[in-house]
Symmetry: none
Subunit: 214 residues, 4 copies
DNA sequence: AATGAATGAGCCTTCATTCAT
DNA sequence: GATGAATGAAGGCTCATTCAT
C-alpha cells in the first residue's frame, strides 16, 4: 500500500483499457475502474487529473502495449512475396489475437469512430512505421513507375482486407453463421488475403505451399 | 401541431442519429436530442419507450435511409465484370456519400465496436441482401467448384477494401496527408478496387483502362 | 360506448377503490386505474376534475357500499346479551369479510392514518349510527348510573377488540404464526370477544351455547 | 462538518420519519426530506441505498425510539394483577405519549395498512418481546389448561383495547366530541382497560376503586 | 360528450469530483 | 502521499394533466 505506489497507476491504466474498451468512455464508470484495479475512488483524479485524462493515457498505453513490437524485418534479399505474406499474417495475428488484445483493438475501434487527440498521436507513433514497411514491400511488387496514389490505394486494399475481420466482425459472423465463422483460422484468412493480393498484383496465383523456392 | 404530428418521430430519429453518432450512446443526452429536435423531453419515452429504444430505431433508420435502395439489378446477360464494377461503385457511393452521411456511418462504426440488438437486425434487413448479390456476382467470376469459405472470404476482401475508406478514414487521411486524401474521387477508388479484385480473380486485365499487360 | 355513459363513472369508482386501497393515493396511477376500468386516460379528469377528486368520491363510495347495511335491529324485548353478541359478530363480519370489502376496509385504514375531509363525513354518516346502537346495548348491560365516559370507554373496549383483527392483522399473523392465524374463524373470534366483554360487564361467564334461554 | 458527521444519518432518519408519516411513502419526496434534514440530495442514496432503504430504516428507528424501553419487569412474586395494570399503563403511555409521538404512530399505521419488510422486522424485534411478557402475565390469570388460541385472543383483546385509542383516534374524537376526548387521561383509560380485562378474566372486582359488587 | 396523443414538471438516482485528514 | 466520505449537478424516466378533435 506504499511501496507499490507506481503500480497503482499502471494497474489503473490496464484496467481502464479493458473497461473503456468494453463499455465506451461515458458508460465506463470511474468507480468500476477503481474497484477493478483495487485502487481508491479518488485515484483517477489523483493520478490523471480527471476521467478524460485517464482515458487519453489509457489509449496511449494500450497502443504502446499492443503495437510496441518493432515493425517486422527480414534479411535483405528476402523475396517481396514472402515479406508480404509475413506482413499480412503478422497484422492479422495482431488484430485477431484472442489472448491479450481483445479490448485493445476494441479501444482502437472507438478511437476511429470518434477520433480524439490520441488518434493522431497513435497514427504517427505506431501505425505509420508499419504502413511504411507495407509500402516498401508493395513497391517491390508493383511496377517502378506506379503513382503514389496507386501505391497508397493498394496498401489500403491490403489493410482493408485485414481490418475487415476486426471491424466488421459482428456482421461477418452473422452473415456466414456462427459456426462457419468460428472455423476461420488466422492462417487460413492470412493465406487467402495474401493470395488474393498477390494475384491482384499479377504475381503467383498459386497457394503459398506450391511456391518452388521459399 | 396537427399536420406535422408524425414528423416529430422522424425528426427525433434524424436528430438522434446525428447526436448518437457524434457522442455515442451514453454521452448523448435525451434532453439534448429533444431540444435539437424541438420535441418534448418526454417524446423519447413516448415514441420509443426509452433511450435504448430510440437508439435502436435510430440505427435502423440510418441504415434504411442510407441503404434502402434496392439491391442493384442488371439485365440478365450482363457480364459479371460489369456487375462487379457497378456493385463496388455503388457501395462506395453509399459509404462515402458526402450529402447525407457524416453521422450515418459514424453510427454504424459504433454499432460495430459495441454491437447491440440493432446490429443483428440491420445485418439481416439491409446488409444480407446486398451480400447475396455480391456473392452471386462472385460465383460467376470464380470457378464453379469454389468452396463456400473461399467464396465468403473473397466477398469479405471486396467489402473490406471498400469499408476501409469509411472506417479508417481518420487514419488514412493522416497517413497520406490531408491534400492527397481530399483528391481521391469515388470513381478513382472504385476503379482501383474493382481492378484489384478482378485481377485477383484472374479475370480482366482490361479496365479501367485497357492495361496492356502487367 | 355511449349508452353506458354513467357506468364509466361507477366502474372508475369501483376500480379506483381497489387500487387506492392496495397502493395508497400517490402510488396509485391514474393510468392503471383507467386501464383496469377500461376507461379512457382522460376519464378521471373528465369526471372528477383531478386525481384527488376521484379519491374523495372513491372513499365516499366505498363507505356507502360497505356500511350501507342499516344498523342491526332486534325485536323489542330481545336480551341485551343477545344483541351484543349479534352486534359484535356483525361488526367482525364486516371487518373481516373476505369477499367484497377486502379493499374497502384497507381504504378506511388509510383514511384513519391520514384523515381527510372524507373521514369526518363518514364518521357521521355511517359510523355514528352503529356506535349509537352499541351504546344503547351497553347501557342495558351497565348500571343505570354509569357515567358517559365509562360508557364510551366500554364501547371503545368492544370496538377496539374487533378492529384489532383488521388493523393489526399483519402483526397478529406474524405473532401467532401463519397457520394458527389462518385457523381463526370469525365465529370463534366473535364468541371470544362477546364472552370476554360480557364477563367484564359481570354478566355470564358461560359460553353462548350454555345460556339457558336464548 | 466533522464532529456531527454521524448525525446526518440520524437527522435523516428523524426527518424522514416525520415526512413519511405525514405524506406516506410515495408522496414523500427525498428532496424534501434532505432539505428538511439539511443534508445533501445524494445523502439518502449514500447512507441507505435508496428511498425504500431509508424508509425501512426509518420505520425501525421510529420503533426503536418509541419502544426501546426494555420489556417491563417486576420483582418475582408480584401479583399478576399488578403486573397487568402496569403493562397496560405502560403500553398506553407509549402509544399516547404526547412528547415524541405524533408521526411515530402515524408511521406505524401506514405500515399496518400496507406492510413492507419493515413490518416483519419490527414485529420480531420490538413487538414480540412485549407480547411474550403479556402472554406470561395472562397465563397467571387464566386457568392452567387454557388453549393457546384462547390465550392469544385474550392478549389481542388487551392490545386491541389499547391501540384503539391510537388507531381510531380521529373517529373516537369525533364520536365523543373534542372536549370529552381531550379530558381523557392516560391513567383513566389505563384503569378502565385493566379493570375491564381483569373483570373479564374473573379476577378482581377490586380496583380501580374497590367496587362493591356488580 | 369523450378521447388519446402529447406535454412538462419533477422525481429518484447516478457519478465524477472534492476536501479534510 | 493517498484516502474515502460526502457532494451537487444532471440524467433518464414517470405521470397527472391538457387540448384539439
Amino acid at each position: 500500500m506504499h511501496a507499490q505506489t507506481e503500480d497503482v497507476r499502471t494497474r489503473l491504466l490496464e484496467t481502464a483499457g479493458e473497461i473503456f474498451a468494453e463499455r465506451g468512455f461515458s458508460a465506463a464508470k470511474v468507480r468500476d475502474i477503481c474497484k477493478a484495479a483495487e485502487a481508491n475512488v479518488a485515484s483517477v483524479n489523483y493520478y490523471f487529473g480527471d476521467k478524460m485524462g485517464l482515458y487519453i493515457e489509457t489509449v496511449k498505453h494500450a497502443h504502446a502495449a499492443n503495437f510496441s513490437d518493432p515493425p517486422p524485418q527480414w534479411p535483405s534479399g528476402t523475396a517481396a512475396e514472402i515479406k508480404l505474406r509475413g506482413f499480412i499474417r503478422g497484422m492479422l495475428m495482431h488484430l485477431l489475437n484472442p489472448t491479450r488484445p481483445a479490448w485493445n483493438a476494441k479501444l482502437m475501434m472507438r478511437e476511429m469512430a470518434e477520433p480524439t487527440d490520441a488518434c493522431k498521436q497513435i497514427t504517427e507513433q505506431y501505425i505509420r512505421p508499419m504502413f511504411c514497411v507495407l509500402i516498401s514491400i508493395l513497391r517491390e511488387l508493383l511496377p517502378a513507375d506506379v503513382t503514389d496514389d496507386k501505391l497508397h490505394m493498394t496498401a489500403f486494399s491490403v489493410v482493408g482486407q485485414c481490418v475487415f475481420y476486426r471491424v466488421q466482425e459482428p456482421v461477418a459472423r452473422e452473415l456466414v453463421g456462427e459456426e462457419a465463422y468460428a472455423s476461420y483460422a488466422v492462417d487460413q484468412i492470412a493465406a487467402h488475403i495474401a493470395g488474393f493480393t498477390l494475384a491482384a498484383l499479377g504475381h503467383s496465383l498459386s497457394p503459398p505451399a506450391a511456391r518452388p523456392a521459399l
